[in-house]
């Protein structure tokens, strides 16, 4: 819904024809293997049909023969930018089902790493967002700060992207002695660098004119389509799982749920930028209060969930991520369903992109922050 009035061409004098264009699966701005079939009149989008399934790996089916400890590792490969939070969802589901008491220390470390993951994800998103709008420099600025987080992860658990740091019952290892200092250093560094994001992109008049009033999503539509995460909160949909269904260490921290009312691309953008400030504040609240004690609760070697259905939702960087386990009492689930936030967020694209231009579609896709492996699973 562009604010700019598009003058309709005089149809009698100048007959125009709608045409199809395939955006993807190999296209620079679809961030992976997404194929969009666009119906276009000139440059104005009439219809968007997302075609997915290019990176489908049947993770849910694979989960049906794996043990619960193995399933945790598969979730890394879904939304690889919030891998730690995905792991946590499965772990929490298993812990709740088996009524394992997770040590406080593990809970707090989990929350800190989850917020660092969220920051890393948002930094990458911010860089890519700028790149999609033609400001390539932002990409490198985003990566500069993300690098520090990745270094912390590497030191903590040996991996930089797919970390597998969570196990049912707690964490795989204790934190590195340097962890506290490096995280504090990062927070101090990023507090000075985050305003730079605003100077470079948010306050740029070209950027503002490309995002403000573009891709309007009303609160009703956000709820109807199940758009969660910062994308949904950009439309004023109160959907922060950390706030409304708290888990882990989140009940003990004090943070704001970012809610915007505009519902346009810029509101979704701003929601993520403000969420970065909140994540920073959560980390700073927790980093000095990591309780001493065990980092892992004693668990059995083979985890067998009791018969029944279990659901756990967490807030990933993209929104509401859910794990639905149906167990028949064996060591692997009878059926396992992931509710991935990207899937719902993607299919709102047709709703918000009609009437906009191709260039706006790219901006909208960026603000929805799609990660294809999360959508296809």
């Amino acid at each position: 819904m562009s604010e700019v009035a598009v003058s309709e061409p005089n149809v009698e004098m100048l007959p125009t024809q709608e045409y199809f264009i395939n955006m993807g699966p190999q296209h620079p701005s679809t961030h992976g293997v997404l194929r969009l079939v666009l119906t276009i009149d000139g440059e104005i989008i009439k219809k968007v049909e997302p075609h997915i399934g290019f990176i489908h790996r049947s993770i849910e089916k694979m989960c049906e023969k794996d043990s619960y400890r193995q399933i945790v590792h598969l979730t890394d490969r879904m939304d690889y930018l919030s891998c730690h939070i995905n792991n946590e969802a499965v772990c929490l589901a298993v812990e709740n089902a088996l009524q394992i008491e997770v040590p406080e220390r593990a809970k707090v470390i989990r929350a800190i790493i989850a917020e660092l993951t969220r920051l890393a994800s948002h930094q990458l998103w911010w860089g890519v967002m700028g790149m999609d709008l033609g400001a390539i420099t932002t990409f490198l600025y985003g990566f500069r700060d993300r690098e520090m987080i990745n270094d912390i992860f590497e030191e903590t658990c040996g991996a930089r992207l797919t970390m597998n740091y969570n196990v049912p019952g707690g964490l795989m290892f204790d934190i590195h002695p340097n962890f506290r200092k490096r995280t504090k250093d990062f927070c101090a560094h990023f507090r000075t660098k985050l305003p730079e994001y605003d100077t470079l992109l948010s306050n740029n008049p070209i950027f503002r004119s490309r995002t403000e009033g573009i891709g309007y999503l009303s609160k009703e539509d956000a709820i109807a389509y199940g758009v969660t995460g910062p994308s949904g909160r950009g439309s004023g949909f109160e959907c922060d799982v950390r706030k409304h269904h708290p888990y882990g260490a989140y009940p003990q921290v004090n943070f704001k749920e970012i809610l915007m009312t505009e519902g346009d691309s810029f509101a979704r953008y701003k929601a993520r930028i403000l969420e970065m400030w909140e994540s920073l504040s959560i980390i700073e609240q927790l980093i000095d209060n990591i309780p001493e004690g065990e980092f892992q609760a004693p668990t059995k070697q083979v985890l067998k969930l009791p018969k029944g259905e279990f659901y756990q939702r967490v807030e990933t960087a993209r929104g509401d991520f859910g794990v639905y386990i149906i167990s028949d009492g064996n060591k692997s689930p009878y059926r396992l369903k992931f509710r991935s936030p990207g899937f719902s967020n993607l299919f709102v694209l047709d709703k918000i992109a009609r009437g906009a231009k191709i260039a706006d579609l790219v901006a909208m896709m960026s603000t929805l922050d799609l990660v294809m492996p999360d959508i296809d699973r």
Binding site: P28, S29, L201, S209
Partner: protein
């Protein structure tokens, strides 16, 4: 003190005595063509390297620094790679136009390059309608872009070409008008004449505010005209993969790529000629000693320094700003730049009429 005219004249008369009038002419034409093609290629290589290094510094990285000293041979290696690449032929493309398009763009770029006065007497041709000729020839480039987009038989290329058509035709007006503002001051369209008229000071200092405004209007409009960021919509890679040259590969792609960089040089060279006194050294009022030292720096160095400064400015824009949307781009031209240019032109006309400029 650095005047190339006598040397060139003596070479010409020497050739004429031995080869006759037409023989000399033919040899000179061939030589000039070869020299300019060489300049064209070398300029492209150098500018690609410079752009990559500068953008790397803007982006907190190092840029090419392995091949040759500080990576200087990187672009040569890239050029060799492009030369050796398989020329992909498209089955459904319009063969003639598809193959013709890169040459039209290169032709426009190299012809305009011929007009650039590198130093006193050092230019390929210097005609009395110089500025007009540059504006006319540089718009031929759009034909090449349109042909490339049309003949590739690719929808992305077509959208890119159509954008480019709308964009270049619109922004030419602003380029022309901002240069026209300066022509009021210079009183001539001939490039050598424009430079001679700045012997007492560059027009950007002598022309008051309208000259500065004209410079920025010219810079904005000409960046848009040569399809550079933030106005690189015809090849917006995040929207149209590569825009009008999506279907080109190897050497044909290199032609487009090279033309873009040489156009950047030409635009900077024209800005230098019209606003910054071309190859004229920098003088300050009555600082005789300072001015005398400045005179010793060869004009070619002065010219290249000024051009580099303008090119740096253009690269700075490209690596800082996001890209505009096509309707915003056309709005910028028709709603802001054009009226501003006309207003600027009127103010300048009044200034010149009253003789208020320095």
């Amino acid at each position: 003190m650095y005047d190339f005219t006598p040397y060139l004249e003596s070479i010409r008369s020497y050739l004429e005595t031995h080869l006759g009038h037409w023989g000399a002419n033919f040899l000179i034409w061939t030589l000039v063509a070869v020299i300019f093609l060489a300049i064209y290629a070398v300029l492209g290589l150098v500018l690609v390297y410079v752009e990559r290094r500068i953008c790397a510094f803007f982006q907190l990285r190092l840029g090419p620094n392995r091949v040759g000293w500080a990576g200087t041979l990187q672009t040569v290696a890239d050029a060799i790679k492009l030369l050796l690449k398989e020329p992909v032929t498209l089955r459904k493309a319009d063969k003639l136009l598809y193959n013709l398009a890169p040459f039209i763009i290169s032709l426009a770029a190299v012809t305009v390059l011929g007009m650039v006065p590198f130093a006193r007497g050092l230019h390929a041709f210097d005609i009395n309608i110089g500025l007009l000729f540059i504006i006319a020839i540089s718009s031929i480039g759009v034909v090449g872009i349109l042909l490339a987009g049309w003949s590739s038989n690719n929808k992305y290329a077509l959208i890119g070409a159509m954008r480019s058509g709308a964009q270049i035709v619109s922004y030419e007006l602003s380029v022309g008008l901002s240069l026209l503002t300066m022509v009021l001051l210079t009183g001539t369209l001939q490039l050598s004449g424009i430079i001679e008229s700045q012997a007492t000071g560059w027009w950007i200092f002598r022309g008051h505010f309208p000259a500065v405004a004209a410079f920025f209007l010219y810079l904005t409009a000409s960046i848009a005209e040569i399809n550079r960021g933030p106005f690189d919509l015809p090849e917006a890679e995040s929207e149209l993969t590569a825009g009008f040259h999506t279907e080109y590969s190897g050497l044909k792609f290199a032609f487009f790529f090279l033309a873009e960089f040489v156009n950047m040089f030409t635009v900077a060279a024209i800005a230098t000629t019209v606003f910054f006194g071309g190859w004229m050294p920098f003088h300050i009022g009555n600082w005789e000693a300072f001015n005398h030292i400045m005179d010793f720096v060869p004009p070619l160095i002065w010219f290249l320094l000024k051009v580099s400064a303008v090119i740096f400015l253009m690269m700075w824009f490209k690596w800082t700003f996001p890209r505009l949307r096509i309707d915003q781009l056309l709005q910028l031209e028709w709603k802001y730049l054009m009226p501003l240019n006309l207003l600027n032109l009127i103010i300048m006309a009044i200034l010149v009429y009253l003789g208020w400029h320095f």
